[in-house]
Structure formats: structure tokens, C-alpha cells
């Protein structure tokens, strides 16, 4: 159990059996008055934010999360399917839960799925993934107009700017945390 004095930004607590993370926290206390713990909390499943003010007598259940290594299988109607390769159990995350991660997911990629009381709620990608460039303008040597980068489209539909020497059909490494180009993959 946490009590009110444990509350701080980043702490995860349960409200009505749902996991929440504190995104904004402010401790207020008029000198002679009661302590007020003002929180903005984000529901870790729905992503919806709420505001709550707690007092020093309040206490909270911590959120316990399990992580399982799984493999991404396919996407259908905005549902993303993942499989535990040991017991072949399959789970689904929806588009909101996946967020920007779909930009970096190719079939059979290994990911970590986060579970709250047996319910899958989030995923973590490998920090670096290799993706194929499906669309890129050819590089014209001496072209100074386009500067030192150009836009390309990857197999996932993600677009980003890369150095001009990257060509269509080639593979590049992306940092999934920033969404930025890291290096060309030598084939």
C-alpha cells in the first residue's frame, strides 16, 4: 500500500481496479492547513487523463505489471495480434494501445508485452529495428538544393528524413525511441 506522502510524478496506482500513472503532481499545503496532493493521472489502458486531489489519510494499491516476451504476428481491423512462442497463447492490442509503435513493427518481430492482472495493456519494442526502404528519390550527386537529407518511406508506411545516399530497396536501422535514422544496413 502507498499512502499520500508516497505520491509523486511517475508513480503507478490503482483507481477502481484500473492502473493509472501520475503525470502531473503538486503537493500543496497552506502553512496551518491540510496537505493536498493534487494529481493528474493517466489511465494506462484507455489513455484517458483524470484529475484527483487526495488528502493525507488516503492510501492506494500499487500497480503490479508483468512483462512477457512475445512475437508480433499480424494486424487486422486495427487489432494487433501477438503470440507467446512457448505456449502459443495469443493476445491482442488495439490501435490506441499500440500508439506510434506500428511505425516500426514488421511481422514476427520480438516485443515485450506489458500485462496488468492478465490483461495486455502496452508493449515495448526493441530499441533498434531494421526496416526496408520502399520509396526514395534517387540521389543526384552535387545536388545542393535538397541539402544533407531527403525523405524516404519505409515498408511500414513510416516516413522520415535520411542521408541522401540511402536508396530504394535498401535497409536502414531506426531507433524506435526517437523514430530517427541510425545507420545503413550493409547487405
Amino acid at each position: 500500500m502507498y499512502n499520500a506522502s508516497d505520491l509523486r510524478k511517475g508513480l503507478k496506482i490503482q483507481i477502481d481496479n484500473e492502473p493509472y500513472i501520475i503525470t502531473v503532481f503538486e503537493f500543496s499545503k497552506p502553512g496551518k492547513g491540510q496537505a493536498l496532493y493534487r494529481c493528474k493521472l493517466k489511465n494506462m489502458i484507455s489513455g484517458i487523463s483524470i484529475e484527483r486531489t487526495y488528502r493525507s489519510v488516503d492510501n492506494f494499491h500499487p500497480v503490479s505489471l508483468d512483462e512477457r516476451k512475445m512475437q508480433y504476428l499480424y494486424e487486422q481491423d486495427n487489432e494487433y495480434c501477438f503470440m507467446d512462442t512457448e505456449n502459443y497463447e495469443q493476445v491482442f492490442l488495439n490501435h490506441e494501445q499500440i500508439g506510434d509503435a506500428h511505425n516500426f513493427m514488421t511481422d514476427n518481430i520480438d516485443v515485450v508485452i506489458l500485462f496488468f492482472e492478465e490483461r495486455p495493456i502496452d508493449l515495448t519494442l526493441p530499441n533498434f529495428v531494421d526496416l526496408t526502404v520502399t520509396k526514395a528519390d534517387p540521389w543526384v550527386k552535387g545536388d545542393s538544393v535538397s541539402g544533407d537529407s531527403k525523405p524516404v518511406t519505409l515498408e511500414t508506411g513510416y516516413t522520415l528524413r535520411v542521408p541522401p545516399f540511402i536508396e530504394e530497396g535498401g535497409k536502414i536501422t531506426i531507433d524506435t525511441r526517437t523514430g530517427e535514422y541510425v545507420t545503413r544496413v550493409k547487405t
Binding site: 510524478k9 511517475g10 499545503k29 497552506p30 502553512g31 496551518k32 493536498l36
Partner: protein
């Protein structure tokens, strides 16, 4: 996992707090100069005390059989009662579980008592003090704090608690107390308007929130208590001191009952203080948070930025 700041903004590392720590040192000297110039006696009362004032919402830190002072109030008043008419003290105070953008569990308090004056005269002395300090530190009369400009030109704004509730909320202070939302209204609706263009004295609190202040002669539903605000930040709390031992004992008992009701422990009753109170002349007294004053004069948003080390920075083996 990404770095998580305790607050919604990041604190400066200690090596980048030089300007604030110099400001602190100079401010302390300037405070001393102000009071010595006015013939105040600087005192040092013990920080380890036997009986903290029974306050409904202030918890003391235990130290052996004693407590670290949450305020030097009771012992300083015993000095006033013993014939010391004008005294001041700059000391550390300790309050359990108080930690936030404006709170540290260990902080620096300036407290002073002036026998023979009331809270209105004390407000003026407060104006003189801060005006003099700002000047001594080479600050302009207009203080720039976090995008706001606060003019120290005297007189400052004065607004009663009743007026403030009428202007900024839709409830009376009395009703707010009955519905147990006085502090919430204060924090969310009143305080953000206090001390914005000029410092503000918020005064005449409802009697049940009188603490150790005397009731207003002729208006017994009010207590002669005030708070000083700058930029929405509570800077000081002052009283025309209550010098009636019976009334004080009654209030202490009420506070102790409230502590019991909310599951808090009670400290020994300050009997020596109550005994001394019968010899205490009419006096005005005030406590001012020095760290917060440094924040305002040094234009810093976090109390962390104006001390050498925060409690978080003292933690060994901190979890990443």
C-alpha cells in the same frame, strides 16, 4: 525507464546553484542588519523541544524522547513573557512529510515578536523589512518572478479572507469550513490571485482557524491573523498573539481532539507555555519562510534550487 523528476520541472544541479546560495547568504546578513538596527535581540531557542504546539495539520519529527521543532513559536513567546520585548530568530524548522515545489521537511524560518503592537502594525513592519531587504540585495523595487512583476511600493494590497472568498469563490469562508473544503478553495481559487502585482496581506481569518491569534475585539467570529503572499506563494503568517491562557488551552484541546479523530498521534501538552502566557503582554508575532523569499528574490520556481542539498539528494542507494 526514463528519468523521472520529483516535480513537474527539473531542479538545477547543486553546482549551478551558486547565485542562489550567495543570495541566501547575503539575505541572511541583511535580515540580521534590519533587526539589529531596530534594536531587536537575536535569540536561539532549542531545536529539540518537549512539547510542539498542538496543530491539527502539522506533524513533528521525533528525536529520542523529544521532538525537532516545527516552529520556535512557543519558546519565543515564553521569552516575550519573561520580558524580552523585541526578539528575532533565524532557525531550522522540521515538519514531517511536507515535500513539494514549495516545501521541504527541513527549512529555514525567520520569526520575530514585537511587544506592544498589533497585527496591523506588524504588517507595516513586514513591508519595511522586505522593502529594505530587496534594496540591500541590489534588487529593483519591481521584482520579476516567473513572468510576473511584483511592485514592492508601499502600501501593499490588503484583503480580508471574507472579501477574498467573495471575490474569487462562490462560497463563504464559514460555509467552506463546515463543508471541509476551506483549504482546497484557498489553494485552488484564492492563493493564485494573491500577491500578483503587489504583495498581498490576506487578513482576518474565521475564528476556528485562529490558531494562536487573538480574536478581533468586537468581532468575535474573526481572529487577528494574516498571511503574506507574493506571486501566489504563502510567505509569512502573523498574529496579534493570543495571551489568554484559558482560551489558548481550549484551542489546543480542540486541535488535539481533531488530531485524534484523523488518526494522528498527540504530543505532550505545552503546560509551561500555557503557564507563561499569563505574563505575556499584548504582542504581535510572525513567521516567514526564508527559502521561499530566496525563491522569489532569485526568480526560481523550485525550493530545491535555493538550498545546498535536498532530501532526495541525501538519499544513498537511490533506486534508478
Amino acid at each position: 525507464m526514463s528519468h523521472e523528476s520529483r516535480h513537474n520541472q527539473d531542479q538545477y544541479p547543486v553546482r549551478l546553484r551558486k547565485e542562489q546560495l550567495w543570495l541566501r547568504a547575503n539575505l541572511i546578513q541583511a535580515i540580521r542588519a534590519f533587526f539589529i538596527d531596530r534594536q531587536y535581540l537575536e535569540v536561539e531557542t532549542p531545536s529539540l523541544i518537549a512539547a510542539p504546539a498542538p496543530e491539527s495539520h502539522i506533524d513533528s519529527i521525533e528525536a529520542g524522547n523529544l521532538y525537532l521543532q516545527s516552529s520556535p513559536e512557543l519558546l519565543m513567546k515564553q521569552l516575550v513573557a519573561a520580558g524580552y520585548n523585541k526578539i528575532f530568530q533565524i532557525c531550522r524548522c522540521f515538519r514531517k512529510n511536507e515535500r513539494g515545489r514549495l516545501h521541504l521537511p527541513e527549512f529555514t524560518m525567520l520569526e520575530w515578536y514585537h511587544a506592544g503592537i498589533d497585527y496591523k502594525a506588524l504588517m507595516e513592519e513586514c513591508e519595511d523589512l522586505l522593502f529594505t531587504l530587496a534594496k540591500a540585495l541590489g534588487k529593483e523595487q519591481k521584482i520579476h518572478y516567473q513572468g510576473q512583476t511584483i511592485d514592492l511600493e508601499r502600501p501593499w494590497e490588503r484583503i480580508s479572507v471574507r472579501q477574498a472568498f467573495a471575490r474569487y469563490s462562490s462560497i463563504t469562508p464559514e460555509k467552506a469550513i463546515t463543508e471541509d473544503c476551506f483549504d482546497q478553495i484557498m489553494v485552488t481559487m484564492i492563493e493564485p490571485h494573491m500577491g500578483i502585482t503587489k504583495p498581498t496581506f490576506l487578513y482576518d481569518y474565521p475564528a476556528p482557524l485562529g490558531s494562536l491569534a487573538r480574536l478581533k475585539p468586537g468581532e468575535n467570529d474573526l481572529a487577528e491573523r494574516f498571511e503574506l503572499y507574493m506571486a501566489g506563494i504563502e510567505l509569512a503568517n502573523g498574529f496579534s498573539e493570543l495571551v489568554d491562557p484559558e482560551e489558548q488551552e481550549k484551542r489546543f484541546k480542540k486541535d488535539r481532539e481533531e488530531r485524534t479523530r484523523s488518526g494522528k498521534i498527540n504530543y505532550p501538552m505545552p503546560e509551561k507555555f500555557l503557564l507563561a502566557l499569563k505574563d505575556m503582554p499584548d504582542t504581535a508575532g510572525i513567521a516567514l519562510g526564508v527559502d521561499r523569499l530566496i525563491m522569489i528574490l532569485g526568480n526560481r520556481g523550485l525550493i530545491d534550487d535555493v538550498v545546498c542539498f535536498t532530501p532526495d539528494e541525501l538519499q544513498e542507494n537511490s533506486r534508478s
